[in-house]
Symmetry: C2
Subunit: 449 residues, 2 copies
């Protein structure tokens, strides 16, 4: 049995190398896939993350929350109570829109961001990723244009690709998406005869840059979206995780009719619940509920009820504050180590919250080509090109400080700095870096979060 | 606040009555939806199910498993143990393909149906509904034809509509889908220049008829699918719930390369976990994993680990046997009551397992028109037209015996028989039934399962 599995894996690796002609021999259905399935491609660096998950590697790649900080005994008691006392409800099908009590509680979770809504406006989904998928599903025909930050969240790009959208990147400065560039992008799209449909943005502690739109920037972005009739899709996983304790005001707070807001408990409580939500204008909400029922019937009552009980019986916002401290300490460790170790010519963003910093290498270095060397030196990151739909980002990479403890972060940065310096020296000597060969293997999707 | 909600609901109800022109005033985004969003329509009888969920109504409508039969104390202890001892794993992001241990266990769950597979072939999803959605997503371009039984599962039709597939129904006899009719349907589709892409079938204890394909029928269906190059999408939520204790051999057992098998724990353990799976040929599996990661990143580790621990530490197959006895007793109650109370000219199927019987009314009666009268007489069912994409089924309806206890089932059938008799008499007197006006209200999706 083990032998046959090994053989299959080798076949797959060969197929990946030798392309579609070879593949058709192995997958008899290859001619039958939908056109949208062509948008489903594995990350080119996926293979390396199998190696990067070995304990000796410091992974600055994945966006995994540090759930070990949670009160596990308390959550265990809550889970038991929910199953024992409300099992006939928790283990049954539920509302397609999500548990009504949890939707009420979500209103409170959105309050710090200035959002006032009715629980009827909230649609709970199996993670906010699914809410994102469903919004694109109901809005985007093939060829419709989605405007996004440059760079943006990897798996949002995956969703846009899977619905055959065209992605247009809007440049960022240290306040996020640049309004003038947004105007120019909309004009260029219109001039080409295409229709800009959505403006997807992560205004707070942005993935992958960690940057945040200030109040004036948010007003300018909203004003442009309204002027151009763009529906704003506001993705806000990190808004409560600002290191100075303040919560940026959501775009949704100032435009309830023009913004679909995506929220999640993955970073503020735990990702393993897979509970997120969309808060949407009424007409869109109606369609989202129907789309959600078609996709999954309903979210899990069990995870919703456990989460709801936790929000009611635990000081959940104190836990959010504890998370902020954990991540602030790690952010500081990252920034200190970058300043201490990185060679000249390297730059990086200074995140005010969330999980990530965006690093740009000295001129001429390529983050994808460098990754195998970095992994050989026991440190991993996500190369920048994955965060763009158009091939930008070769000289940049994303560093996550959310999961490893501070001393591991420092050690990881030290190793990475050594790799960068060696690559820079090699480039100076030879004119171009020589990447190590990558070995394709099955891998977790650590690069997808 | 309550007043404004009431006003919104009234607006929505009015919109539903007065159509798109009116709607555009209420939903400023109405011109922006994707073409596929037109396939998202609320069930015409949805409104009535709000009324039908009142305790005095015997609902023979929803397909809710009787989860109160589960060992709740044991499940509570398991949930607590998983969170307390493995919380850092259970509350974290997991593999996009699903927990590796659970995928091994799923192999055992599929064994009684004769399926031999490798855990690499299994993709766990947030309910098998999502697996169905993803298979259609990767295979069906707009206009592609999906062949289905006549009638078939309501929310499968919802998925096909949301991906703009054309549905072609294949007539059934008491052994399920008729092979000759399948041949004819494929020939007609080909003759019209369209491409039949998928054959969607529920071969065991079919929803909504309760019928099961025998071994010869299965062989004939598989042979035709192979001959015509149709990928078979085998939906098998009820296969373990046969009342004589035998488990029908899955189509997948005899054609690993030509069948995508959909399984779920919703009916054999509990629907509230939202854990289902697809078992697929390798090439399709690769694409399914990518599509699943794009849609939801990963299924919930928490529900997967609790389920896995339950499968390991509890006699789960004994629980399946207990469920069989619960449902067999209820099926018997239904059949006895139908025989005792239903007026002449009414016919129904005799399910050998699962949750449903399909009833056909005396000539001239319309199940949709009759539903408001039935609900007024405190009994509910799902009218037949929802199980067809083409308007068939007006004289039929689905009765679910899975949730109410036997005495309630008998009482429900007694009430329903009275409604049928009254409708028949009215028809004899007046020539046509006069439906009561339905009041549109928000409603759970009890008709969707």
């Amino acid at each position: 049995m083990a032998v046959s599995v090994q053989a299959e894996r080798t076949d797959q690796a060969e197929t990946e190398r030798s392309g579609p002609a070879h593949r058709s021999r192995l997958d008899p259905w290859v001619e039958q896939y939908a056109a949208r399935a062509r948008g489903l491609t594995a990350s080119q660096v996926r293979a390396l993350f199998a190696v990067a998950s070995r304990p000796e590697v410091v992974s600055l790649a994945g966006g995994m929350p540090y759930v070990a900080a949670l009160p596990l005994d308390e959550l265990a008691d809550i889970a038991a109570r929910v199953v024992r006392d409300r099992g006939a409800h928790a283990l049954q099908y539920g509302s397609g829109q999500g548990d009504p009590d949890l939707r009420e509680q979500i209103l409170q979770v959105m309050q710090p961001a200035g959002i006032r809504a009715h629980s009827d406006d909230v649609v709970v989904t199996a993670g906010s990723q699914l809410a994102l998928d469903l919004v694109v599903r109901i809005f985007c025909d093939p060829g419709d244009v989605v405007l996004v930050e440059a760079p943006t969240y990897v798996t949002a790009l995956g969703v846009f690709a899977s619905y055959q959208c065209q992605v247009v990147h809007v440049p960022m400065d240290d306040q996020g998406m640049v309004p003038g560039a947004l105007s120019d992008a909309v004009a260029a799209v219109r001039a080409s005869g295409r229709r800009p449909k959505l403006l997807y943005t992560i205004p707070s502690f942005h993935n992958p840059t960690g940057l945040t739109q200030g109040p004036a920037r948010r007003a300018a972005v909203l004003e442009l979206a309204q002027r151009h009739g763009l529906l704003v899709l506001e993705d806000d996983p990190y808004g409560l995780l600002g290191f100075d304790g303040s919560v940026p005001r959501a775009l949704r707070a100032d435009d309830p009719d023009g913004v679909v807001y995506l929220g999640t408990f993955s970073k503020t409580v735990a990702a393993g619940f897979r509970v997120g939500w969309a808060t949407a204008p009424h007409g869109i909400r109606d369609k989202l509920v129907l789309a959600a029922e078609t996709a999954t019937l309903c979210p899990s009552n069990l995870t919703q009820l456990v989460l709801g009980e936790y929000l009611v019986t635990s000081p959940w916002y104190e836990q959010v504050k504890a998370y902020r401290e954990v991540y602030r300490e790690r952010r500081d460790a990252l920034l200190d180590a970058l300043a201490a170790y990185m060679p000249a010519g390297t730059t990086w963003t200074v995140p005010g919250g969330g999980f990530y910093s965006w690093l740009t290498l000295p001129d001429g270095l390529d983050a994808t080509a460098m990754l195998p060397r970095a992994v050989a030196d026991l440190v991993a990151y996500v190369p920048g090109t994955g965060f763009f739909a158009d091939g930008q980002g070769a000289s940049s990479l994303r560093l996550s400080y959310c999961f490893p403890p501070p001393d591991r972060i420092r050690e990881g940065v030290r190793r990475l700095a050594g790799v960068v310096a060696a690559e820079r020296d090699l480039l100076a000597d030879l004119g171009a870096p020589a990447p190590l060969p990558a070995r394709p293997t099955a891998a977790p999707s650590a690069d997808q979060v």
